[in-house]
């Protein structure tokens, strides 16, 4: 009887987790911009994985592996926000038409510019690189 109660709990948690995962993956197709998609993917990363893992931990073969499965949830909850943050930074940095899809506070853009280098530094760097090149090579490149 005890075994069947465990099975019923596992089935309930795993099926709920699968439904949540399916909703998340549907969201990845439903939304049409990367940052919106990130919002849908976070559903899989938090609720989906934790429901499934709790279901598996209930009917794991021994206590030790159940604790390791719980450790996977803890690690995922710690690492997923960091990964999402890096991904959002990649999107904000590389998408040049970002203003069309979302409102970015001007402060964010100013901070991003400062994190590279100041404008004067970039200009100085370009001048230094140009000075190092022989002049004839540039002309040949243009002719070709």
């Amino acid at each position: 009887m005890m075994e069947w109660i465990r099975f019923a709990l596992t089935a309930a948690f795993v099926l709920a987790g699968l439904v949540v995962c399916a909703i998340g993956v549907y969201g990845i197709f439903r939304f049409d911009y990367a940052v919106n998609r990130m919002h849908a993917a976070a559903v899989v990363d938090t609720m989906g994985i934790s429901l499934c893992m709790v279901g598996f931990a209930i009917s794991a073969p021994d206590l030790f592996s159940a604790m390791k499965i719980v450790l996977v949830i803890v690690f995922w909850w710690l690492s997923s926000p960091v990964a999402s943050h890096m991904l959002a930074r990649l999107e904000i940095t590389t998408n040049e038409k970002r203003g069309e899809n979302m409102n970015i506070h001007e402060m964010t853009l100013a901070q991003e510019r400062l994190s590279r280098a100041s404008e004067a530094e970039i200009e100085a760097e370009i001048k230094a690189e140009l000075a190092g090149e022989p002049e004839k090579q540039d002309g040949e490149e243009e002719q070709a």
């Binding site: 099975f7 990845i28 993917a41 930074r89 990649l90 370009i126």
Partner: protein, 114 residues
């Protein structure tokens, strides 16, 4: 005996659904217009794979597979971080190259004018 059968049916069904979701994510990864869409799909595929590996702990009754799930979670996290960093660096490098080209053009133009 009946309980083993019930577990096999439940977990087999779960495995099928997770595989279908992972394939759907792969399609999104191929379709995705930008690089961040692709990295995002890779992240979701990693999550689904960790769930699948943990499922085999219950299906095969082998405790050591939980370690594999833990290691896979770490590798998946590292992959997303490294890919984001690398593509940000590539973007900056390309932008720098474009600025260099523009500066070269203006300098050559000035010389021709003189």
């Amino acid at each position: 005996m009946a309980i083993d059968m019930a577990y096999q049916i439940l977990l087999g069904f779960a495995l099928l659904v997770l595989t279908a979701l992972a394939i759907a994510c792969l399609v999104r990864c191929i379709m995705g217009p930008g690089i961040s869409d692709r990295v995002l799909s890779i992240n979701v595929i990693g999550t689904l794979t960790v769930i699948m590996v943990s499922l085999t702990v219950v299906l095969l009754k082998e405790g050591y597979l939980a370690d594999i799930a833990l290691v896979y979670a770490m590798i998946s996290f590292l992959a997303v971080i490294v890919l984001s960093k690398v593509y940000t660096g590539i973007y900056y490098e390309r932008k720098h190259e474009e600025e260099l080209q523009a500066a070269r053009k203006t300098r050559n133009g000035e010389e021709d004018g003189e």
